[in-house]
């Protein structure tokens, strides 16, 4: 008999029932929440007079609207009344409905929900995890089946502890070999999206495997799974291993005592069996991946740093040509410009893709003893959580950043989507470690280039994009 994929195992271990047409009810272990996609779900519950099925599955925290400065002000820096209302609505809803973990605005552990979940040990291998947020795919780094869902589904999970879903197809993305110096999980993620396209994973759950993936830290695996959704896949997965177990040991909500032993033994079974069949397999050679940079308005519009801005005249497909032309116009770029000649106005290092301690360390290595370029107006460093922030401060990273002329901020989503005051002005160009370069994502008219934390820090220092490999060599 053919073996099972990790995805199949996770699915089957949560299957409550299945209709003839393949519609399944899937039991949900962990429900993450933030202030933007939950208010209408709680309101729906209230209107229908429903009670939550298991509020102890909920981990919540405001992150999208919260400011990253002026926390000491009377209003905590939360100036806009409608943002305040949304944050207060989450407070009130959690108070009424309950939660396992709730960090209100300005709590010492508050942060981006996808950073705090793993940090608290509330994301565990073998779980099903949902959140009204597409980057829930991040939690797949632990070998959990993690889906982003809409607000109606948030309400459905609140009321029934289940999700109505159909099996996805299974895709294996295999990256073997050793990554070169200066090449990070972010570059791997972007290279994969460049290869499969933003719709390449639609209808699929992607398992990432191969020696280069096993070599990644947990932080790197989170970066990779985080961007599975940018490749169209609702879920990304990495099989748990010793690194996963080490990361989780001793976390506040990780299993304890006899449960820990039992859990670790179970997690050890969570891997794709030999002989299991995937619907599609994509292979990349780690050594051939170079530092990546997006040039357009979709994450698939990505190139290695040594390349030039594409020329639409070389594209035969009229739809694609029009797409390139539109992106170049929006981005204010001329065809054939070397990517390293593109100047930046702002730099953002943060988001659920790249705001963990390892990301900040990588940026600090580049920034140490250097100065932000004069043409760069602002460099925001936004840690993913209070815990990341304190760790970075304990290591003196904040001092490295401020000495370089960077701003050290409070945790939150910040300029990843610019729902708070951190944003680009129309026409401004940003080197960003976030996950989406859509039109207007970082502020109306703003221009986003997605890169790794080291590449972002290097752009801040040089004032334009640089090949991090040459930049680091120049120093040593």
């Amino acid at each position: 008999m053919a073996g099972k994929t990790l995805y199949d195992k996770l699915w089957e271990s949560h299957l409550v029932r299945e209709e003839d047409d393949g519609t399944c009810l899937l039991y949900i272990d962990r429900h993450l929440m933030h202030e933007v996609t939950s208010p209408q779900a709680f309101e729906g519950m209230r209107l229908a007079g429903r009670k939550p099925w298991r509020s102890a599955s909920i981990v919540a925290n405001p992150d999208h609207n919260t400011p990253t400065e002026h926390w000491g002000d009377a209003d905590g820096g939360l100036k806009e009344p409608i943002s305040r209302l949304q944050v207060e609505t989450l407070d009130a809803n959690i108070k009424e409905f309950g939660a396992l973990v709730y960090f209100p605005f300005k709590h010492v552990n508050q942060g981006i929900i996808h950073v705090i979940g793993p940090e608290q040990g509330t994301t565990l291998p073998g779980m099903t995890v949902v959140c009204g947020d597409s980057h829930t795919s991040t939690h797949g780094a632990f070998g959990a089946l993690a889906h982003g869902i809409g607000t109606s589904e948030v309400e459905h999970v609140l009321a029934t502890q289940t999700l109505v879903a159909k099996r996805s197809k299974r895709m294996l993305v295999k990256v073997d070999g050793k990554l070169g110096a200066g090449v990070t999980a972010k570059d791997v993620a972007l290279a994969i999206i460049g290869k499969i396209g933003t719709a390449g994973g639609t209808g699929h759950a992607i398992e990432f495997g191969g020696s280069a993936i096993r070599d990644l830290s947990m932080e790197g695996r989170m970066t990779l799974c985080n961007m599975a959704i940018e490749g169209g896949a609702r879920a990304g997965l990495v099989a748990p291993d010793a690194k996963t177990v080490d990361y989780l040991k001793g976390r506040p909500h990780a299993p304890k005592g006899a449960d820990w032993e039992k859990a670790v033994a179970y997690w050890d079974t969570l891997k794709t069996d030999a002989g299991a069949v995937f619907d599609s397999v994509i292979e990349l050679d780690a050594a051939s991946i170079e530092p990546q940079l997006t040039w357009g308005t979709s994450p698939e519009q990505v190139l290695p740093i040594g390349a030039r801005v594409p020329n639409p005249a070389h594209e035969a497909d009229p739809q694609k040509r029009a797409g390139i032309e539109r992106a170049l116009q929006y981005m204010g770029l001329a065809a054939d410009t070397p990517l390293t000649e593109i100047k930046v106005d702002k730099v953002f290092i943060g988001s659920c893709t790249n705001s963990r301690i390892e990301d900040l360390r990588a940026a600090a290595v580049v920034a140490k003893g250097r100065q932000k370029a004069a043409n760069v107006k602002r460099v925001l460093i936004v840690p993913g959580s209070g815990i990341v922030k304190r760790q970075a401060e304990a290591e003196g990273l904040d001092k490295v950043f401020t000495a370089a002329g960077f701003e050290w901020r409070e945790p939150g989503c910040s300029m990843c989507l610019a729902m708070n005051a951190d944003r680009l002005e129309p026409g401004e160009r940003c080197a960003s470690t976030s996950n989406r370069n859509f039109e207007g994502r970082q502020g109306p008219g703003g221009r986003t280039h997605l890169v790794s934390p080291a590449m972002a820090a290097a752009a801040a220092i040089a004032g334009h994009f640089v090949d991090i490999r040459q930049f680091q060599e120049a120093r040593s």
Binding site: R17, L25, Q40, Q86, G150, E155, A199, R234, R436
Partner: protein, 212 residues
């Protein structure tokens, strides 16, 4: 949820691939804690020449006349024609809320992003997948013919053009049933509450740490 059975409606074409949910409804409108009122801000950055903020009176705002939704011939459209990967990006259900509130009931595209696709069903919108070549034909006809309408029938799972060409589409029986009857999915699921409880009991025995 509203039911969807059948519609014969004016068609509006959005002729670009990878239309993302940030474009469908920009982030500043996500600050609302309500479920309605998003229609005026649908495609806000493409539709208006100024910068949109929640609560603005859109009837006074300057329009970008070249954007399709602003062209007189598409006023009152109820069916959206789209290209590949429509609705990619964030999980925000505000995107289908805005589309529905604006007056669209069906979207036809060669492919949709997964989360957006399932969000549509929860809001009485029928997302229809047809082959890219069929979409090419529909786009061409729609652009050539002012007042172009399509007939969408869920019971027979058919899209029919004014010339009488008709195209079959797929939908799972579960989704079809829910959409045709405007059913509350939570109510349906709770009919299986005993099964959920039984599963939960077994799950807790197998993995007690999940319930600690």
């Amino acid at each position: 949820m509203k039911a969807f059975t059948h519609i014969d409606g004016l068609v509006c074409p959005i002729n670009r691939a990878n239309v993302d949910t940030d474009a469908i409804i920009p982030k500043q409108f996500l600050k609302s804690i309500k479920r309605s009122g998003f229609g005026p801000y649908l495609f806000d950055e493409w539709r208006y020449a100024d910068q949109g903020e929640p609560g603005m009176d859109c009837s006074q705002r300057p329009l970008r006349v070249d954007f399709v939704l602003n062209q007189p011939r598409y006023q009152g459209a109820e069916i959206l024609l789209a290209r590949d990967n429509f609705g990619c990006g964030s999980s925000r259900e505000h995107a289908p809320w805005a589309i529905e509130d604006f007056g669209f009931h069906a979207i036809i595209a060669p492919s949709f992003a997964d989360i957006f696709f399932s969000n549509c069903y929860k809001n009485g919108i029928l997302p229809i997948v047809l082959p890219a070549a069929t979409l090419d034909k529909l786009f061409a006809e729609c652009e050539a013919q002012v007042g172009y309408r399509l007939n969408v029938d869920l019971a027979s799972q058919k899209v029919t053009t004014p010339a009488g060409d008709s195209f079959d589409f797929d939908i799972t029986p579960h989704r079809k049933h829910c959409l045709m009857n405007g059913l509350d999915e939570i109510g349906l699921t709770l009919e299986h509450a005993d099964e959920i409880r039984a599963f939960e009991g077994r799950h807790q025995v197998a993995q007690p740490w999940l319930f600690a």
